[in-house]
Amino acid sequence: MHLVSVMRRCVWAVLLWPNLLTSSVPLDCRQEQGGVSRCSSISQEKLLDRVIQHAELIYRVSEESCSLYEETFIPLPLQFQRNQAGYSCRTLPIPSSRSEVQQISDKWLLHSVLMLVQSWLEPLVYLQTSLDRYDAAPEVIINKTKWVSEKLISLEQGVVVLIKEMLDEGLLNLNHSEEALFQYDVQPEMVESVMKDYTLLSCFKKDAHKMEAFLKLLKCRQTEIYNCS
């Protein structure tokens, strides 16, 4: 009897051996995705899950703040959600059709995501300063924008770690382009400022959706359960 039970336990240990490695999550990385060096022990799968969660959350919050901003400041005829006329969002050289997305490699997917994330770091800061200039901007919008800005930074860090883990590339230099896309000292007129901020919020919402879609596609490819074509 004793021998049987010991044998059983050994079998269990052998079988569950890989799980011990994959499911171990050190305390450091439980909260935050940041800290590239400290979170090397988190599993790739979990990191990707967490990154995807971040992206989903960022998209949801950006959508809420965009709707709120639209309700508060934009009159009905000018609302973009209803009139999807083209407005100038900064387009990056990344694939934008599903077929293209399906065709590009994981590396390109991740880099696209990183590019997207990095392209929005500065505009969000500008958006925050612009919102602060308002007389009666709702607290909610300001808080959400601030939250999104913070989460985007950690998303960037997560994606960098992912790139390092998945693509075995060296640690990317996280220096961003020095050129300032926005002028912070010039205060535009109120109407112009409102439309500019609205455009920023809408475009960011769109790009957050894009990030989320890319990351989900990446996950799908990673699991290889479904035919992610």
Binding site: I52, E56, Y59, R60, E63, L76, P77, L78, F80, Q81, R82, N83, Q84, A85, G86, Y87, S88, T91, S96, S97, R98, S99, E100, K206, D207, H209, K210, A213, K216, L217, K219, C220, Y226, C228
Partner: protein, 638 residues
């Protein structure tokens, strides 16, 4: 580079599109937000994507029926990746539809649509621009069915679990699209659908359905955090039929039980009706406090004459409590001070001094206590009753402070006196500057019975046979003796008098008489035209320090008649010869008897009180009740 520049150009083009225009007829606005009539020209009806990877657009020729044939209208599109307008990749002509497949669909970039007819006629609406993710309407979920969860113990309600599957066209497995679902259900015969909360799972519980009813359920879905729903799925029907046996006895038992209880309660109530009524509706006790009968509050004053110069006032009411007998200290009466005045005034007005008594004691009364002393009675006063006083000093001014404190330079005496008396001088006959000498007192009396008083109180030194009462100046004599200089001033002041006043005062200066008017005659006296009397200094009449107050007529003209004789109530003869002894400065009417006689106490000989710097008139309010003069009463008459 060229591509980049063209892209930038296109970007500019796109951004320059007039997205600030008012809502137009683009399919985006028209279909979903603004119900506008279909435009007459060819237009895009709708563009829809089902899977966020492809999309279709439909158009309509509008009223241009010549363009309805296939191929007459062509669809062109442009997006930020294309440098020029491109034609539809795949036409579905029977449907007037253009289908964009995977290769031609780019997400997250704006598309614009355009229709072109023959000869490159372009029908373009700026509103027909969109991003593909925003036009996604997922297909309805499939495989909708339900299972019974449980039935309530009463057997009347039940819960149902509804489950379904995501539409196959939407790629939720890979996470390309995130979808949420909405279930709506309704009872078979109603028209209004009940919607449940958005659900991200592919199952939902519906609670509280009724047994026996048939329910219809359908479902639709949309992309999470987006606005547009897809179409509804085909409905399914839910119905649970109850087993009758379980509910029947329960209802019977309930019905019978309630009926029995009701019958029992009715029996109890009918048998114990009286007791129950006592318990539930106790009788209200009758009030035990007897209020005050208003009849009892009525009272009147009776003046009893006790003697030649004794009067007793008696207040009689229904209640003995209210019957104050007058003793030293003033007249009793109703508790209110003002009412005192009313009552006393009335009585004082109607005080009739008995002629017999007056006559008998005339001579003797000149000197002292037998004289009926009456307070100055208010005369029936007309509008302007000028009663001049020769001298403020010459007043038989029993006012405690004023005589001795006479200050010829005090300017306000007459005005103050005027304020004391009822009404205010209107004609300005009150002279302020010569005030010390002449105090014209003008009053408007509301009451005809107001006796005008030259002073707060005066001493009756004699009673005329006709009923007039002569007031003695008392204090006045003394002061006149002491200050001869003051006599001059009255004389001067006399000059300053008004014309009308001066006449009379010259005529009447030596005649001072207090008229006591009968109650009956009081009113008449009011209208009588009695002149005013002024009391000049008594220099022409030595020792004649008395004043006579004549009842003033209602007319304003003081100079009407110099002769007092016109008044039936006026002027006993030869007042001048009557030098009346000094009497006390003031006296107190203690009582009134039934014969309208005043009973006065012998006035105490008292030196005038210390000279008070303040005007004596100001001290008026603090005078005790007993010293209220009739004119004050008159001032208080309504």
């Amino acid at each position: 580079m060229a591509a980049l520049s063209s892209n930038l150009l296109l970007l500019l083009l796109m951004s320059s599109l007039d997205w600030l225009s008012t809502p137009g007829n683009g399919f985006f606005m028209a279909r979903h937000d603004v119900t506008s009539p279909a435009p007459p020209e060819p237009h895009i009806t709708e563009c829809i994507s089902r899977d966020q990877a492809t999309f279709q657009c439909w158009w309509s020729p509008g009223n241009f029926h010549n363009l309805s044939s296939p191929g007459a209208l062509r669809l062109f599109y442009i997006n930020s990746l294309a440098s020029e307008w491109k034609e539809c990749p795949k036409y579905v002509h029977p449907n007037r539809e253009c289908f964009f497949d995977n290769n031609h669909t780019s997400i997250w970039i704006p598309y614009c649509m355009q229709l072109r007819g023959q000869n490159n006629v372009t029908y373009y609406n700026e509103e027909d621009c969109f991003r593909v993710e925003n036009i996604v309407r997922p297909d309805p979920p499939v495989s909708l069915n339900w299972t019974l969860l449980n039935i309530s113990p009463s057997g009347l309600n039940y819960d149902v679990m509804v489950n379904w599957e995501a539409p196959p066209s939407a790629d939720v497995k890979t996470g390309w699209m995130r979808i949420e679902y909405e279930i709506q259900y309704r009872a078979g015969n109603t028209t209004k659908w009940d919607a449940l909360e958005m659900q991200r799972q592919t199952q939902q519980t519906i609670f509280g359905l009724h047994v026996g009813k048939e329910y219809e359920v359908h479902i639709r879905c949309r992309m999470r955090s987006f606005v547009r729903f897809g179409e509804f799925s085909d409905p399914i029907f839910i119905q649970v039929i109850s087993s009758k046996g379980s509910t029947f006895p329960l209802t019977l038992v309930l019905v019978f039980g309630i009926t029995g209880v009701l019958i029992l309660v009715m029996l109890i109530v009918s048998s114990q009706q009286r007791r129950l009524m006592m318990i539930l509706l106790p009788p209200v006790p009758a009030p035990k406090i007897k209020g005050i009968d208003p009849e009892l509050l009525k009272w009147h004053t009776i003046i009893h004459r006790r003697g030649p110069d004794k009067f007793q006032l008696e207040n009689k009411g229904k209640l003995d409590d209210l019957n104050f007998s007058s003793t030293g200290g003033g007249l009793g009466g109703p508790p209110t001070y003002a009412t005192d005045f009313y009552q006393d005034e009335l009585w004082v007005e109607f005080i009739e001094v008995d002629a017999e008594d007056a006559g008998t004691g005339e001579k003797e009364d000149n000197q002292g206590s037998d004289t009926q002393r009456l307070l100055d009675v208010p005369q029936p006063i007309s509008h302007h009753m000028n009663i001049g006083f020769s001298n403020a000093v010459s007043f038989p001014d029993s006012d405690s402070g004023r005589a001795s404190c006479y200050d010829p330079d005090v300017p306000d005496q007459d005005t103050l006196m005027a304020t004391l008396l009822p009404g205010q001088p209107e004609d300005g006959e009150v002279k302020t500057s010569p005030a010390p000498e002449r105090l014209l007192i003008r009053t408007q009396t509301a009451g005809p019975q107001t006796w005008f008083n030259t002073d707060f109180y005066a001493q009756v030194s004699n009673v005329m046979p006709t009923g007039g009462v002569v007031l003695s100046p008392g204090q006045q004599l003394r002061i006149q003796e002491s200050t001869s200089g003051t006599e001059e001033e009255p004389q001067q002041g006399k000059e300053h008098k008004g014309s009308e006043d001066s006449e009379e005062e010259k005529e009447k200066e030596e005649q001072f008489q207090l008229l006591v008017v009968d109650p009956e005659g009081g009113r008449q006296a009011a209208e009588s035209n009695t002149p005013q009397m002024f009391a000049p200094p008594s220099s022409p009449i030595p020792g004649e320090g008395y004043q006579t107050i004549l009842p003033q007529p209602a007319e304003t003209e003081p100079a009407a008649t110099a002769e007092d004789g016109q008044s039936p109530y006026i002027l006993p003869d030869s007042p001048q010869s009557q030098v009346f002894a000094r009497v006390a400065d003031y006296t107190v009417v203690q009582e009134l008897n039934s014969q309208h006689s005043l009973l006065l106490n012998p006035p105490p000989r008292q030196s005038p009180p210390a000279c008070r710097p303040q005007h004596p008139l100001k001290a008026l309010p603090s005078m005790p009740v007993g010293y209220i003069t009739p004119d004050l009463l008159g001032s208080l008459s309504p």
